[in-house]
């Protein structure tokens, strides 16, 4: 293999598994260390710069970082990254003065942001300090998009959302609430220099099987149901409720029903449990609230008696997978089953819908009614119009919407300055040795063996009575500290200097996870099988040195390195150093060095 090019910014970025997996590339270990140091405000600000909604995400994030977390490869469970973010948000001090202070000197450009969800708000946060005049339109009376209309208050208290939405809106954003934009043409006719579309995927799918017409007064679309609950238009449901669907929306619908008078709440999913889209913890939370989940039961028809919904008839199937993993649901032949219901909530998916974008103005749409976009710049086929969030490539989650917002803001800024949207700056990176003295590091390199701590929950008898009582209570400071100590500091990189190495093997012997091998070079596959511990995880790179004096090379498998620094402590010649790697994705927000706190 060729020697690894550690100057490539992506090489060490990939080693920081959580940050790499985070769509917004939040510098996770950096803020976790600050939490351990009780610097909650600073930890919050690092988050705020990257992901704009630390309090919201610390409760509701889909957490793609956690399955990626290195800790999960050396032990059973990853670091509770998401819940640590909440510790920072809940315990922060005064932060407003640390944020860019409006009013900002105008740059003479105007941008419209359609939709008030996380994608638009992020673009707004990034563009405002640069002097853009920003006009944000949303059909509802308050900002936040689906974070407000969909995510139930028992998972995300309104006060937390309000605070973080207002940090953005207070930056001098011109809001046009209660305004449904019904014509893109009209927007384009106004003198905006650019338009950002962050309108989400607002159309819930319905299920018009036999009996639907007669029963439809008691059949609700999941996202519409949740929105009407959020805005207090709906305050009760029947005693028996069936929720159809196996995703997170279904979980929010059943748990909400339980709080609005539903006694027997059943979720029915057509597919097997392991295929359910809902996050495991959402399923767990629902079951903890005595909600029954049936799998392998597709709905066949609504049963109506005396013109009123009586229940739903379900077939029974089993799943078979062909060699490509494609699933087929095959009837088992068992008799159908009827479940009684006063109300049925249909939560089987959302679609994009742009009835308000005229077909003849130059914005092309592709399959599934999603716009044709450049995947990096988010520019549509009409050059001044950019998309982001669920509106771009279909329903995702808040953190993805935020990541899109950052990238679209970079594009918009380039576009409005008359530059090519492809002239994007490389990410800001920095390597800082952590050495303080012989065997002394500026980071805590001791590895704790603690298992993941559980987040305490509110007593069910209390939380089920009021939909606004938050279920998860968050870590207290003591547990927060202990959980933070589980983080392995993956951003503190092992950097090898071949000229210094005398091949004494000290690093090989001391490495607790057998990551380091000195051997003759070869092809990657061959090398992977010849290391001190076989390197079978192909998603993790091998760090290969240049040829050493004995004609061998040093090979380090990044897979389960604990970043404990023992190799560096045992090395007599400082051929290994522990070097903190900072990686900041390019954002317009940090363009002027503003808020550059890390």
């Amino acid at each position: 293999m060729k020697p690894t090019n550690i100057k490539d910014p992506e090489y060490f970025h990939k080693v920081v598994d959580c940050q790499y997996a985070c769509p917004a590339h939040t510098p996770v270990p950096e803020y976790i260390r600050l939490i351990a140091a009780q610097k909650y405000t600073e930890a919050f600000m690092i988050n705020w710069e990257s992901n704009v909604f630390p309090g919201v995400l610390g409760r509701t994030c889909d957490r793609p970082c956690e399955p990626a977390c290195r800790r999960g490869r050396v032990e059973e469970e990853p670091v509770a990254i998401c819940r640590l973010k909440r510790v920072a948000a809940d315990n922060k001090g005064e932060v407003k003065h640390l944020m860019p202070q409006a009013p900002f000197p105008s740059n003479g450009k105007k941008v419209a942001l359609i939709g008030g969800g996380p994608a638009s708000l992020t673009a707004a946060r990034d563009l405002a300090p640069l002097g853009y005049e920003l006009h944000l339109y949303d059909e509802w009376g308050k900002g936040g998009g689906m974070m407000r209309t969909q995510i139930p208050a028992f998972r995300l208290p309104e006060a937390v959302l309000d605070e973080e939405v207002n940090f953005v809106l207070d930056m001098g954003i011109h809001t046009h609430f209660n305004t449904f934009v019904d014509s893109m043409k009209e927007i384009l006719d106004k003198d905006y220099d650019a338009v950002f579309v962050g309108t989400g995927a607002p159309k819930g799918r319905s299920l018009e099987i036999e009996g639907y017409e007669e029963a439809k007064d008691n059949i609700h679309i999941g996202i519409e149901f949740l929105a009407s609950v959020a805005f207090e238009h709906k305050e009760s449901v029947g005693k028996k409720v069936i929720v159809l669907g196996g995703g997170n929306t279904a979980m929010d619908c059943c748990r909400t029903s339980k709080r609005l008078g539903g006694k027997e709440v059943t979720v029915v999913v057509r597919s097997p449990r392991q295929d359910m889209k809902a996050s495991p913890w959402e399923i767990e939370d629902a079951e903890r609230e005595d909600i029954i989940i049936h799998n392998n039961m597709p709905p066949k028809r609504f049963v109506v008696e005396n013109g009123k919904l009586k229940g739903v008839i379900f077939g029974k199937v089993r799943a078979e997978y062909d060699e490509n993993g494609k699933r087929k649901l095959i009837p088992t032949g068992e008799p159908d089953m009827m479940i009684e219901a006063d109300d049925v909530i249909v939560a089987i998916g959302q679609d994009n819908a742009f009835p308000w974008i005229e077909k003849d103005i130059g914005i092309e749409f592709g399959k599934w009614n999603v716009p044709v976009l450049d995947k990096v710049t988010f520019q549509s086929t009409l050059d001044k119009v950019f998309f982001g969030g669920d509106a771009a490539f279909g329903p995702e989650n808040v953190i993805t919407a935020v990541a899109h917002g950052h990238q679209a803001a970079v594009s918009i800024d380039l576009f409005c300055s008359g530059k090519s949207v492809n002239e994007r700056l490389a990410p800001m990176t920095n390597l800082i040795s952590q050495k303080m003295g012989i065997h002394e590091w500026t980071y805590d390199n001791h590895i704790e063996s603690d298992l993941r701590y559980l987040v305490p929950h509110e007593d069910k008898n209390i939380s089920l009575k009021d939909r606004k009582v938050e279920v998860e209570l968050g870590f207290d400071l003591g547990i927060g500290f202990k959980e933070a100590q589980r983080c392995l500091n993956c951003d503190v990189q092992t950097v090898f200097t071949e000229d210094l190495c005398i091949e004494c093997d000290a690093c090989v012997d001391v490495c607790p996870t057998d990551c380091i091998t000195f051997t003759n070079n070869g092809e990657e596959q061959d090398l992977r099988s010849r290391l001190n511990a076989p390197a079978e995880n192909m998603t993790q790179d091998l760090y290969v040195s240049d040829t050493l004096l004995t004609t061998r090379v040093m090979i380090k498998d990044e897979d389960v390195c604990l970043h404990c620094g023992l190799c560096s402590e045992r090395c007599p010649t400082e051929a290994w150093d522990m070097v903190k790697y900072l990686y900041n994705t390019t954002k317009t927000y940090t363009k002027n060095g503003k808020g550059d706190c890390c």
């Binding site: 000290a506 045992r570 007599p572």
Partner: protein, 350 residues
Amino acid sequence: MSYLKPKFHHPSLKPNKVGFIKSDYEGVISTLCAGCGHDSISGAIIQACYETSIEPHKLAKLSGIGCSSKTPTYFLSNSHGFNSVHGRMPSITTGANMANKDLIYLGVSGDGDTAAIGMGQFVHAIRRNLNMVYIVMNNGCYGLTKGQDSATADFGSISKAGSSNPYPGIDLCGLALELNATFVGRSFSGDKTQLVPMIKAAMAHPGFAFLDVISPCVTFNNNKGSTRSYSHVRAHIEETSLFDFVPHQDEITVDYDEGTVTKLELFDGSSIHLSKLAPEWDPTDRFSAVNRLHAAKSKGNVLTGLYYIDVESEDLHVKINTVDKPLNKLTQEELCPGQSQLDVINDSFR
């Protein structure tokens, strides 16, 4: 400075036949100088014991005084141990071995501990063919007392302070051959591919198995002009043969080319495989080993690998005809069979 080792290990490393993972054979984190060859030898001991599935409680590690003699703290923390006074490891091991012949005895010493103060003890343990592995971590100096030349330092080797050694060095392997040791070999701390199987074979050998392991002292004897520095040893290494050890339980999976491989069966059914032999050397012929060693030394080279093995070795217990049961397991009745038996013995002297 870290003083605790993380508990995590590589997830794909499986437990061995007796259910232990490699870290079960480790000790506390080493306090030797970073880069010391002794730590690599500890690593090789750990590796060898893990791979041969030794039950930790069936091994005793014994040592004298020196950096080398400190190493038993850094490996096999679940085994028995005795850190004796300077140079006295062989007699403590003799006593322990006499009392309980069921344990594997692993003696660890330094070139100072063995070739100076402990020389008298060393030679008698060889002469008696005490069943033990005797490892000298040979750095050519007294590391612990700040690097004075030891008795094994080569003539003319330059010390860190710049002086040239005026005395000829004692070659411990040469001495062991002279004293009819039944297993003699030399290795290098920086060559685990050779050292690990040699330790395994030494443990399988019934009798005195001597391993002189060149082990650079990074702090006091790794300078230019020293003949025990990493770079000097690497530049002057010469092997008797490639060495492999196959424990008796294992099937031989590697294909050995019959013509170039010599297979030596050991007492317990395990075997040593030697390939690329030097033509003028036969590992079972003591004289050829002595000649081979001198040939290498005359070129200024360090000869590593197995020198000599007596495959018919009989240890001290056989020589003095002890009972099968370890002495420490004998009961009061067996040890003291009573007046009538004593009378029989006394009568035999009349």
